[in-house]
C-alpha cells in the first residue's frame, strides 16, 4: 500500500500551516463555479469505493494516526465549530461529499448515486454552494443554527488498489442541537479517501453512511 505519510513529509504535524487564514466565504464565491469532473468514470470510481469499503480494515499504525486520524478529527472539530471555510480547504479540487439516502449493505443498487438521489452529493461547486447558503443568514432551517458534536472511533485502514490514495473507515455518533428543537442523534460509518494535493494531505472523497439512511429525517441541513 502507498503511504501518503512519506509523500507529505508529516504535513499534519503543523495544522497552523495547513489552512489559509485569510480564506473567507468571498473566496468560495469565486471558486469552482463550474462542475466539470462528475462523469461516468467518477461514478464508476464511487461504485468501486463501495466494494473496497466492504473489506475488513486494519487498525491504524501510530504514524497513520498522526496523518489520517488527525485529519478526520480536525475535520470533525471544524464542523463542530462551524468553521466551514476551513473545512472546505481540507478537500481536493475534484472532491465529493456524499451522504446516500439508501442503506449501504453490499449489492444495494439503490446506493448508486448515478441513478439515485442522495441526501447529499456535493462536488466542489455544490460544497461551496452549501457553505454560501449556510452563510446567507436567511436559511430559516438554520436559523437558529445547528451545533454538532461529532464522536469518531474505530479508525481502520482499508486496502485499495488505487495508487496514491489511502482509505480510512471510521464509526461515528453525531449529536445535533438547534435551539427550540430536541437534540438529534445520527450514527453510522464514514469512509475517507485521502490524496496528496499541492503538497498537502487532502480528502478527495467522503462517504457518510447513516444507520437510518433510508428513513425519513428531520432537518439534515447541517454538515455531517
Amino acid at each position: 500500500m502507498d503511504d501518503l505519510h512519506d509523500e507529505t513529509g508529516g504535513a499534519m504535524k503543523s495544522l497552523d500551516d495547513y489552512f489559509d487564514p485569510g480564506f473567507t466565504v468571498d473566496d468560495i464565491l469565486a471558486d469552482a463555479k463550474t462542475s466539470p469532473y462528475i462523469n461516468d468514470a467518477y461514478y464508476a470510481k464511487l461504485r468501486a469505493d463501495m466494494q473496497e469499503w466492504d473489506a475488513a480494515g486494519a487498525p491504524l499504525t501510530e504514524a497513520e494516526r498522526q496523518d489520517y486520524e488527525a485529519l478526520i478529527l480536525q475535520e470533525n472539530w471544524l464542523l463542530d465549530r462551524r468553521n466551514f471555510e476551513r473545512w472546505y480547504q481540507l478537500y481536493t479540487r475534484e472532491c465529493v461529499y456524499w451522504v446516500p439516502a439508501a442503506h449501504d449493505l453490499p449489492a444495494n443498487a439503490e446506493l448508486d448515486p448515478q441513478s439515485h438521489v442522495t441526501i447529499a452529493f456535493d462536488d466542489r461547486r455544490r460544497m461551496g454552494d452549501r457553505i454560501v447558503w449556510l452563510r446567507t443568514g436567511v436559511a430559516y432551517s438554520q436559523l437558529p443554527p445547528s451545533y454538532t458534536a461529532h464522536h469518531a472511533s474505530g479508525f481502520v485502514r482499508v486496502s485499495t488498489v488505487t495508487k496514491g490514495e489511502v482509505k480510512v473507515r471510521s464509526q461515528f455518533i453525531l449529536h445535533e442541537m438547534r435551539a427550540n428543537n430536541p437534540v438529534q442523534t445520527l450514527s453510522g460509518w464514514m469512509g475517507h479517501v485521502f490524496k496528496s494535493e499541492d503538497g498537502k494531505l487532502k480528502i478527495d472523497r467522503k462517504v457518510v453512511c447513516l444507520l437510518d439512511a433510508q428513513r425519513a429525517h428531520h432537518n439534515l441541513t447541517f454538515l455531517i
Partner: protein, 430 residues
C-alpha cells in the same frame, strides 16, 4: 371543541380557524373521512414493475398494501390480518405471491383472498374462508398513477381528476414517447407540523421570494441573475405566473411562461459541464432538447389531498400525527430510447437541489406556524389574498384563475376539505 358535523364556524370566505391545524379530533376525522373518502394517491405503477410486486403505503393512518397480480392488475388491500389484526406485510416493498401473517400463519394471496389457515378444522364446519379475505380498497390507475378509496359511490378516477388529468398529461408528455420512472430513490423529510401546512404551501406563489431567500441569495451571489427561480423575485403579481382552481380541490401553479429556455435557467448541478460536453459532442443540436428535460417542469400540480407534482418530482404528503407529517419526494427519470442516460444522471443531481436548499426552509417555517397556531387567543389565519381585487378571471377551460400570489388554491382546498369532512357516505372495505 368545534362541532364535529359542521365546520362552517371555522372556514369563512377570507379566513380559517387555527383549530383546523391543532385539534386532535379534527385530525382523526380527516384521516378517516378525507383519506379513503376521496380518491387518494397510493403508488406509481413503475414501482410495481414485476408481477407479484408490492409496496406498503398508508391511506390516512390505515396500513395498506398495493399489489400487482399475475395479470398486471393492481390491488389495494388493508394490511390487517382478519384473524387478530396483526399486519401481514412488514417489508416496505418486494415481490410476494402470498402474505402470511407471522402470528398464526393465516395466508392471503396478493389480491387479499384468504387461502390458508393452519389446522382449519378447529374453527368448525361453518368456517368460511371466502368471507375472511383482507379488506379491499377500490383502486384505479390513471397513466401509472394509482389511487385508492373506500368510497364505492365516488365517480371514476378520470372524471374525479377532471382537468387535473390534462395537466398531468402535460407533465408526463414533455418528452414525446417518454415514460416516467419512479424507481430512483426519495427524499423523506419530516415536518413537525400539520399536513395541511404543506398543502397550503404547494400552490402558494406568494412565499418563494421570502421563504426561499437563502436559495435565491446564494444563487445570485454565486452565479448572478438569470438562473433558477429568479422569476419569483419582485412584484410577481405583475409577472406571467398564474394559479388556478381545477375543481375537486385540485389546484395548479403555472411557472412555465416565465421560462424562456429550460436548460439555461436550470439550477446548477454536479456533473453539469462534463455531461453537457459529452452530449453536445455526441448528439450535436439534438442535445439541447434533451438537456431541457433535466430542469423541472415549471408546474406545481396539486391533486387533493396528498399528491403534489412539483418540478420533476412526485411529492406525497404522509400524515403521521396531528403535528407530524412525512413529506416524501419521489425522484423520477424519463425512459425513452432517445433520452441518453446522462440526462437521467443529471436529473438525479438536480432533484437534490430543492430538497437541500429550498424545502428545508419551508418546513422550518411550517413548524413555526404550528407553534404559533397553538395560541388560543389568536384564532384566525388570513386566506383572502386577491379574493376581492378583481384580478381573478375564468380561463378558457372554465377554471377560476388568478395572479400567482392569489390565495385561491388555499380557498379551493378548504371548500373540498369541508365537502369530505361533512360527508355522510359510509366507507367500506370490500
Amino acid at each position: 371543541m368545534p362541532d364535529p358535523t359542521d365546520y362552517s364556524d371555522l372556514i369563512e370566505a377570507d379566513r380559517v380557524h387555527r383549530t383546523l391545524y391543532t385539534d386532535e379530533q379534527i385530525f382523526r376525522t380527516e384521516m378517516n373521512k378525507i383519506y379513503g373518502g376521496t380518491w387518494t394517491y397510493l403508488a406509481h405503477a413503475s414501482e410495481l414493475s414485476k408481477p407479484y410486486s408490492f409496496v406498503r403505503r398508508t391511506l390516512g393512518l390505515r396500513p395498506v398494501i398495493v399489489t400487482k397480480d399475475r395479470n398486471g392488475q393492481f390491488h389495494g388491500v388493508l394490511n390487517r390480518c382478519t384473524h387478530r389484526g396483526a399486519t401481514v406485510c412488514r417489508d416496505e416493498s418486494g415481490t410476494a405471491r402470498r402474505f402470511t401473517c407471522p402470528y398464526h400463519n393465516w395466508s392471503f394471496d396478493n389480491t387479499g383472498a384468504l387461502v390458508g389457515v393452519p389446522m382449519e378444522e378447529g374453527y368448525g364446519p361453518d368456517f368460511d374462508k371466502s368471507k375472511l379475505g383482507l379488506g379491499k380498497l377500490r383502486v384505479a390507475e390513471y397513466r401509472g398513477f394509482i389511487f385508492g378509496t373506500l368510497n364505492s359511490e365516488l365517480p371514476d378516477l378520470e372524471t374525479h381528476l377532471g382537468h387535473a388529468a390534462r395537466r398531468l398529461d402535460e407533465w408526463m408528455d414533455r418528452w414525446p414517447g417518454g415514460r416516467i420512472s419512479v424507481r430512483h430513490g426519495q427524499h423523506k423529510l419530516i415536518c413537525n407540523g400539520n399536513w395541511k401546512l404543506v398543502n397550503d404551501n404547494s400552490a402558494d406563489g406568494y412565499h418563494p421570494g421570502f421563504s426561499h431567500a437563502s436559495l435565491l441569495r446564494m444563487r445570485k451571489d454565486r452565479y448572478g441573475g438569470g438562473v433558477d427561480m429568479q422569476w419569483v423575485l419582485g412584484n410577481v403579481d405583475e409577472g406571467l405566473q398564474t394559479v388556478a382552481d381545477l375543481g375537486n380541490g385540485h389546484t395548479f401553479l403555472d411557472q412555465r411562461r416565465e421560462i424562456e429556455r429550460y436548460w439555461d435557467q436550470s439550477a446548477p448541478m454536479p456533473g453539469e459541464d462534463s455531461y453537457v460536453e459529452t452530449l453536445r459532442t455526441r448528439m450535436g443540436e439534438k442535445a439541447e432538447a434533451a438537456l431541457d428535460m433535466v430542469m423541472g417542469s415549471g408546474m406545481n400540480l396539486n391533486i387533493f389531498p396528498n399528491l403534489l407534482i412539483i418540478g420533476n418530482q412526485i411529492q406525497v404528503i404522509v400524515p403521521r400525527a396531528l403535528a407530524r407529517t412525512d413529506l416524501i419526494w419521489y425522484s423520477t427519470s424519463i425512459e425513452a430510447d432517445d433520452i441518453p442516460p446522462e440526462i437521467n444522471s443529471l436529473r438525479m443531481r438536480l432533484q437534490e437541489d430543492f430538497p437541500s436548499f429550498g424545502e428545508p426552509d419551508d418546513l422550518a417555517n411550517f413548524e413555526e406556524c404550528q407553534s404559533g397556531l397553538s395560541v388560543p387567543e389568536m384564532e384566525w389565519l388570513v386566506v383572502s389574498r386577491h379574493r376581492t381585487t378583481g384580478k381573478e378571471y375564468v380561463d378558457e377551460h372554465g377554471h377560476t384563475t388568478g395572479p400567482v400570489t392569489d390565495e385561491l388554491p388555499i380557498r379551493a382546498f378548504w371548500a373540498e376539505w369541508q365537502k369530505w369532512m361533512t360527508s355522510t357516505t359510509k366507507l367500506v372495505a370490500q
